[in-house]
């Protein structure tokens, strides 16, 4: 339709080639059996495929070519996530390859940041940002992770030229796989990004039991943990970072919903009861026609939001908040109805549907609550008054 590809990211052809490459990789190597092995493994994701993705440059979509990435933008990230979501390939991708590079944009000319970005793109380091959304939720009065009073903002202190971190993070993803942690902490009413080792002295983490097997959630406590200060950030930049995560997540949810929907339609064509395929019953046809409107809306809005963010469009706030609550609610609804449409077979652990359904429950709360996105969407419209 438009040729924004020329101004940001990579060309449409390159994006297409990237998607085909990823799709082939996952189709060839990531069937349901391997997906289950991955989420049941200690780390919770497929290290082998992660390494292959690094070799293909896919871990550095947002990282410049000089640092070993492919210099793409959020439209490529969204396209990547649709395919990953479809296969339920969950991984530290959003943390390490979306949030971390976006958070560090302001420091792209500084050596420690450049090194980190290089390590991410090469697959040498999984860099996990934590606590970066807390200041935002606090500012906006939102109900998201971290604002329940137990875990406020991390604080940093300077002692003889060395920074140390104190505080708690209620939820952090993939801590046991992290090679570096990025922290956003406050000092003297300013926010900075810090980097520390996961094994640093004074840092204790505890793995939490999660409802969704694809998640690896830990709670973190920092007691005078030594950290290196990287760059200063403001709240607006944290919003940009969170929006990048939401766009990636919207893509994942759109892709996953499409897949669950397609597999459900196949089942309705092949499952016979009362001497005919159950898909010939109107009650089920009407359910799936309504779901199709939702599935297609999710795809449309996830792509539109990624494009708006990538091109810095005036509509970006409106579209990313719309994408967030539409995809969060839509993924949950599509997977819930998929179980219902399958009937008894999907009430078993062996069946795939509940895995997506649990992932949908996770996605609803990661990077902010859907009600908060609805609130932000309306607030943005009110500005027109």
């Amino acid at each position: 339709m438009k040729q924004e590809e020329d101004t940001v990211g990579i060309s449409a052809e390159d994006r297409q080639a990237m998607c085909e490459m990823l799709e082939r990789l996952l189709v060839e190597h990531f069937d349901d059996t391997r997906m289950r092995q991955a989420i049941e493994s200690e780390e919770g994701f497929d290290r082998g495929l992660w390494t292959q993705m690094a070799e293909l440059g896919l871990l550095g979509i947002l990282i410049s070519e000089e640092r070993g990435g492919i210099g793409g933008g959020l439209q490529e990230v969204e396209a990547f996530m649709e395919i990953a979501g479809k296969a339920l390939f969950t991984s530290p991708y959003i943390s390490s390859s979306v949030i971390a590079p976006t958070l560090l944009i302001g420091g792209a000319s500084e050596e420690p940041v450049q090194n980190l970005l290089g390590e991410i793109a090469a697959g040498e380091s999984i860099v996990v940002p934590t606590g970066f959304e807390v200041p935002l939720f606090t500012r906006n009065g939102f109900t998201g992770v971290g604002s329940d009073g137990n875990s406020g903002m991390l604080r940093s202190e300077l002692d003889h030229g060395n920074w140390s971190i104190n505080g708690e993070v209620e939820f952090a993803q993939y801590i046991s796989s992290a090679d570096k942690l990025l922290l956003v902490a406050e000092h003297a009413e300013k926010l900075h990004v810090y980097v520390c080792e996961p094994g640093a002295e004074g840092l204790s983490s505890r793995l939490l039991q999660s409802n969704d097997q694809t998640l690896r959630l830990s709670t973190l406590q920092f007691k005078n943990v030594a950290a290196q200060q990287l760059i200063e950030v403001n709240l607006d930049h944290l919003q940009v970072t969170l929006d990048a995560a939401l766009a990636a997540s919207a893509g994942e949810q759109a892709g996953a919903s499409k897949e669950v929907f397609a597999r459900t339609i196949d089942y309705l064509k092949t499952r016979f009861q009362f001497g005919r395929p159950i898909g010939s019953f109107q009650a089920l046809k009407h359910m799936v026609a309504d779901l199709l409107v939702e599935v297609e809306s999710m795809t449309s809005v996830a792509r539109a939001a990624a494009e708006a963010l990538a091109t810095d469009s005036k509509q970006k706030d409106s579209l990313i908040s719309l994408a967030a609550f539409t995809c969060k609610d839509g993924f949950r609804h599509v997977t819930a109805e998929a179980i219902q449409l399958h009937g008894g077979i999907a009430y078993t652990l062996e069946h795939f549907a509940h895995l997506y359904w649990r992932r949908a429950q996770s996605c609803r709360w990661l990077y902010g609550a859907p009600n908060d996105s609805r609130e932000r969407y309306l607030s943005d419209l009110e500005k027109l008054l």
Binding site: M1, I265, L268, K269, R276, P277, G279, S280, F281, Q282, L284, K285, H286, V288, A289, D290, L292, V293, E296, S297, T299, S300, V301, R303, A304, S318, L322, F325, T326, N371, R374, E375, Y377, L378, L381, E382, L384, L385
Partner: protein, 401 residues
């Protein structure tokens, strides 16, 4: 280059012609004083501006759509009638596409220079199940005698012709025994009664047909093959609806602020957190539909087709019923009132009723869901109890056969 030169030449020609023939202040033919439809339309048809995409032989100029739009723009700028009859005059389009040379010779010019045709499709017992029509046409010499009742007909009062779906063979299965006619409306035996809609409007009529006559040569397509002729006609109609001409240009077009946000502000409801959630959710449906339609257009340009188009009607029902319900929640107990003194309530109550136009008109949403699940998703058809048996044996509400 050449194309755009041609278009410029055409634009100059049309504008000069209009300046010479159309009085854009009195909105009538130059020197006429009042608007005479037949006389003006004849002039437009003779000049080749009414149906530019058709060949010269049939009053056109053999232009493509882009070139034709030059004519449309010039006419619209001067508020002149008669353009785009190759896109909007369903009767003329259908005769042009399906009629024999003789039928075109006899009727096409008359149709193009007259009011648009009405559509005599639905019946009290053939709504969602349109192929169940029971209006009977019986051959009597060189004409057919027609008896039956049609319903949900627009422009029935003005129309000189209607496109009429009838049953001619009662022993054939449902879809096989129908015949499609171009039917003269101005005759004894055709009675038009307006329908009073739940909005208070009367856009549609019932048409009672008693021993009315239609020449046998007015059959569109073949005898007993009316269903396939009808499919051609309805495809043109859907194309028109897809061009957005049926969409109301309402209050929403005037401002960037969604009317519901404005309504909530005027009613001091923007501080209610529960209502804010509902409001955001309701507004999202229109936004999402427009994003889907953008994607559909892009796919259309790229691949020549988009299955997303089929979802628009269903999505619009969610939009319109949802907006009406939320408007009611914003207005609160004052929706109990109505009339010009209470414009918010009046609009809210009107929109709540009008939303059914989308979810029932042109086939109910439930029929649309069947179509989506069968044609788009490939789910098997439901059992049809009336398939492959003579139509005379099909069960129905009506007692006549």
């Amino acid at each position: 280059m050449n194309d755009s030169n041609n278009r410029n030449a055409l634009r100059e020609e049309v504008e000069a012609w209009l300046d010479q023939n159309w009085d854009s202040e009195k909105l009538c033919e130059k020197g006429a004083g009042t608007y005479d439809e037949k006389s003006w339309l004849s002039k437009v048809v003779d000049a080749g501006y009414a149906v530019p995409s058709w060949p010269k032989e049939w009053y056109g100029r053999g232009l493509n759509g882009r070139d034709g739009s030059v004519i449309e723009k010039a006419f619209m700028a001067r508020k002149a009638q008669g353009w785009g009859r190759d896109r909007f005059h369903l009767g003329a389009i259908t005769i042009y596409k399906l009629g024999s040379k003789e039928l075109k010779d006899e009727l096409l010019y008359e149709l193009l220079t007259g009011p648009i045709c009405c559509l005599l499709y639905s019946e009290p017992n053939a709504g969602s199940d349109l192929a169940g029509v029971r209006t009977k046409a019986v051959l009597d010499g060189d004409e057919y005698l027609v008896n039956g009742q049609k319903v949900w007909t627009s422009n029935a009062q003005e129309a000189e012709y209607g496109m009429l779906l009838t049953r001619t063979d009662w022993q054939a299965p449902k879809h096989k025994g129908m015949t499609f006619f171009i039917f003269p409306m101005k005759q004894e035996g055709v009675e038009v009664l307006p329908i009073n809609q739940i909005t208070g409007e009367s856009e549609f009529s019932e048409v009672f047909i008693t021993d009315a006559k239609v020449p046998a040569r007015f059959i569109i397509g073949e005898l007993d093959s009316g269903w396939s002729s009808f499919q051609t006609a309805i495809a043109s109609e859907r194309l028109i609806m897809g061009q957005g001409v049926t969409e109301r240009i309402g209050r929403s077009a005037q401002s960037k602020v969604p009317p519901l946000v404005d309504l909530a502000k005027r009613n001091n409801k923007l501080s209610d957190p529960v209502l804010r959630q509902e409001l955001a959710q309701t507004l999202s449906y229109r936004h999402l539909n427009s994003l889907n339609m953008n994607r559909a257009k892009a796919e259309f340009v790229q691949k020549g087709a988009s299955s997303l188009m089929m979802l628009g009607k269903l999505a619009m029902s969610r939009v319109q019923h949802g907006e009406a319900k939320t408007a009611g929640n914003i207005i609160g107990h004052r929706v109990l009132l109505d009339g010009d003194s209470y414009p918010d309530s009046q609009n809210g109550n009107f929109d709540a009723a009008k939303a059914y136009m989308n979810s029932i008109g042109g086939g109910t949403d439930q029929i649309q869901k069947n179509i989506i699940s069968e044609r788009l998703l490939g789910l098997p058809k439901d059992q049809e109890l009336d398939k492959n048996i003579p139509f005379s044996e099909v069960k129905s509400n009506s007692t006549e056969s």
